[in-house]
Structure formats: C-alpha cells, structure tokens
C-alpha cells in the first residue's frame, strides 16, 4: 500500500497541480493547496482505502482547501476564475482538460522571463513531482539555495504576470524550443551518471510527446533520449569510458532502442527536419552495425547548418574519418575555433595517429590531457598516448 501510494502521488502531482493552477490562476496558492490535499490523502487513504478516482479526489480536496484559504484571505476579487467553476463532485471532473493544463504549466515553468536554472527546477518540481531536496541534490546545490530559487521563481510568475497558457502561434516556435531545451538539459545532466535525472527527463519527454503528438521536434527529442539511454549500461565498464565501437551490444536495451526508432519514423513522416529529429536520426544510425559513416557525416553537416555549432562540425570530422576520409577530416578539425575543448585535441591526435604523424599526434594528446576534467576520460587519453609507438 505504501509503495503504491507513493507511486500515485508521484504520477498525479504534476497533473493535480496543473489542474489547480489552471483553475486558481495562482501558482503558490495551488501548490500549498495541493500539498495539503496530498497530506490529507496520505492520512486517510491507508485507513479508508484509495478512492476510485484518486486524481479527482485530490483536485477536489485541494480546490476546497484553496477556496477556504481565499475566503480567509478575503482577496476574492483577484480570484474570480475559481468561483466561476461550479461545485464539482468527483464524477464531474473534466478528465480531458488536464493534459492541456499540464502543457500550459510546462510553458509557464519554461517561460524565458525566468532564469534557466529556475526553469529547470520549477519543471522538475511541478511536473516531475520531485521534492526540493531531491532537486537540490541532483544539481549539487544546498537545499536552501534551491528552495529560495523556487520561491523566487513562483513569486515572479505571479507578480510579473507570466501567463498560464500555451503560447499563441506566433510565439510558439521559440517557446517550444525553450521547453524542449529544458527537458534536454535535464537529460544531459543525467547522462554523466545521475541516472534519476535522465529517467526524469524521459518522463517529461513522454509527457511532451503525448501532449503534442503532431509536433515532430517533441517526438524527436523523446526518440533521441530513449535511443541514447538504451546504451547506458554499455557506456562504462569498471568505471572506464567505452567507445561506441567497443561497446558490448548485448548490454543495449533493444526494446527501448526500437521504441526510439518508431518515434523517429513518426517524426520524419510528419516532415520533421529540426535539430532534435536530426539528432535522433544520428543516434539511430550510430546504433547500426556497422554504422553508415558517410550518411552520418552528411547528417552532421545538416545539423551544423541548423545549429551553427562547431562541436557538431567536430563530430562531422570524426564521422568523415570513420568513412575513410582522414585527410579532409583533419583539415576540418584544424579550421575549428575550439582550442579550449579537449575533444578537439583528442580527435586531432587520433587523426594524426592514423596518418602516421606520430610526433604531432603525441603533442595533440598532451594538449587534450591539459584540458580534460573527468578522471575516466583522462585515463582513456593516457592509454591512447601510451599506445603511440615511438619512432
């Protein structure tokens, strides 16, 4: 009972909160009321049994608490929207409105008038249902700092009039990009090892894909995260980084890879050619055995045009080299303005090694070692350097 109660709470928090904010138009009031309703449920459900529709019970209980509070505060004028809603019994809870309200909540949390770290924290708190302590731990900041960040963000939403709605069409492309960026940032925070964050990002990605089933970039992002995450158990062995070509494919989660590929196909069928769709296509191609490096290089070229990122160009160089075009790859690497980036020097070292320019390769690996931060990657580079035969 305890485990299932926790699961229900986790699953329902974002939905209940979204429904409440939609009705109350007040973030802080909604959160306080939701907390009280969840506390009441934790007390009553184990004794009385779980209601038939837990979500409706929670929304109704929270709504009634919010009304009590508003009556106490006598600030009725600002909260008329709540009172327009007729008294609702459990059975009359409009089930269909909740997905829309979750989407509205997500766009509010990821509003560009909030700092990016606040967007991320609010999204995890409200849609992910993570506690302040969990979020603080995941981002390696003191709990008090995270609590302040959340309070400040919620206060700004109300005081500055950040709207609770899906943005109109002329604002949507930019705002959707912001929402997807927050989900992807959470995913990447987890990619370095904090698995609970990757899992949370995938949950968010699923919600986005469910809420916007015709938006190729939302599908592309979920596909990308699923396919990369499918290789999670093969990326490290005994604490060491394992390169893709050396990974034990039996450790890949093939079901998840397949789910990602199916989503990618849908995104492509919808005409998606945006950055997340292209990255998902790249993740899919990388998982082929053997990968089609020429096609991968071409797709990196497309991604580079979309993003203008020199890091993408660096990846294109790696793909070119794998396709046998080592000299053009080296020429490309040497054009890039990424001197502080250890991957640039590690890549350059590898390409020079393949061209038998050993002394230059050694110098490039040494430069990469000066810049690298992760111990696992440092050991990897030291091994590559030691393998260079002296001439």
């Amino acid at each position: 009972m305890v485990a299932s109660l926790e699961q229900v709470f986790r699953d329902e928090w974002g939905r209940v909160l979204a429904a409440l904010i939609g009705r109350l138009g007040d973030f802080e009031l909604a959160e306080e009321a939701a907390q009280e309703a969840f506390a009441a449920a934790a007390e009553r459900w184990p004794a009385e049994g779980m209601p038939a529709n837990p979500r409706a019970w929670l929304v109704t209980a929270a709504r009634n608490r919010a009304i009590d509070r508003i009556r106490r505060d006598r600030t009725l004028r600002a909260k008329v929207r709540l009172l327009d809603v007729p008294e609702a019994g459990e059975e009359r809870m409009p089930e269909m409105t909740i997905p829309v309200e979750r989407l509205e909540l997500l766009f509010t949390c990821c509003h560009p008038a909030l700092a990016l770290d606040a967007q991320v924290a609010l999204t995890l708190r409200t849609l992910g249902g993570l506690g302040t302590r969990e979020i603080a731990r995941a981002f390696l900041v003191p709990e008090e700092t995270m609590a302040k960040r959340l309070v400040r963000a919620k206060h700004k939403i109300r005081a500055a009039g950040i709207p609770f709605r899906v943005p109109p069409a002329h604002l949507l492309p930019d705002r959707l990009a912001a929402v997807l960026a927050v989900a992807y940032l959470i995913y990447n925070e987890g990619y370095g090892g904090r698995r609970e964050l990757s899992a949370e990002a995938i949950r968010l990605g699923r919600a986005l894909a469910e809420l916007m089933p015709d938006e190729p970039e939302a599908l592309g992002l979920l596909a990308l995260m699923l396919m990369n995450d499918a290789r999670r158990d093969a990326r490290f062995a005994a604490g060491e980084v394992v390169l893709l070509r050396d990974q034990d494919r039996s450790l890949w989660d093939l079901e998840q890879l397949g789910e990602g590929r199916a989503l990618l196909d849908r995104a492509l069928a919808l005409g998606g050619r945006g950055p997340y769709v292209v990255q998902a296509a790249l993740a899919s191609l990388h998982a082929d055995d053997p990968p089609d490096w020429a096609q991968i290089a071409a797709l990196y070229g497309e991604l580079g045009r979309l993003t203008g990122s020199p890091v993408v160009e660096l990846n294109r160089a790696v793909a070119l080299a794998e396709a046998g075009e080592v000299e053009p790859a080296l020429a490309l690497v040497e054009r890039l303005d990424l001197d502080r980036y250890h991957y640039l020097h590690a890549t350059r070292g590898e390409l020079l090694r393949r061209l038998d320019r050993t002394a230059e390769a050694r110098a490039a690996y040494r430069r990469a070692l000066q810049l690298v931060h992760s111990d696992a990657e440092r050991r990897h580079l030291e091994r590559r350097l030691a393998e260079l035969r002296p001439r």
Binding site: H111, A113, A159, A160, G161, I162, P163, P167
Partner: protein
Amino acid sequence: MKYMLMIHQGTAPTPRDPEEWAKLPEEEQNAVYADYQAINETPGVSPGLQLQPAETATTVRVQDGRTLTTDGPFVAVKEALGGYLLFEADDLDAAIELAARIPAARLGGAIEVRPIAEW
C-alpha cells in the same frame, strides 16, 4: 496587469545627440519616429514624460543628516533611464511584445519591464 517599460538607450543613437543621430540613414530615423508614435497610440499605453539626457541628472544622498549631491545619474550614464511608458496589458507576454517594438531595443539599448505594484 500594469507594467512600466523603462527605456535604456545604451548606445542607441537619439536626436539628443545630433552627431550620432545623423549617422542613422534617414529612413531609419523616420522609422524610429514612426515606431514611437505607433507605440504611444497602442491601446493600453500611457506615454511617459520625456526626460532630459542622463548627463543633466543630479544624484542626491543624505549621510549623517547632510545632503550630498553628485553630478550625473545614480548608475553609469550608458545604463541610465532614458524614458518610460506605462502599459496596461493582459500578461507579461503582451508587455514583452510591446517592449520588443521600442526602437531602443534594436539599436543598442534595452527595455526593462517591471510590473506595477497594485494593492
């Protein structure tokens, strides 16, 4: 919601600095005038009062009961308030859209959007 949009000219040329202003092509000068006029005529906008340039400001402090005055604005001249307007809008998105139409925002300055406290 009511917002104050504070216009910081930054490096944006204005007619108050005729030399810099003259560097703008005439069509751009006319566009700036037309844009400000359109903004002032936007429903919900109450145009603010014109301020003299920041160089004419005097900053006043009181320390130990003594009034201290310094020449110039409280912040750096480039960061000083150049003008303002009031805007009654549904939400912050509407205020941001109006702010983006103010010429200073695209000519090297910036607009600060602040909600007005209501009691």
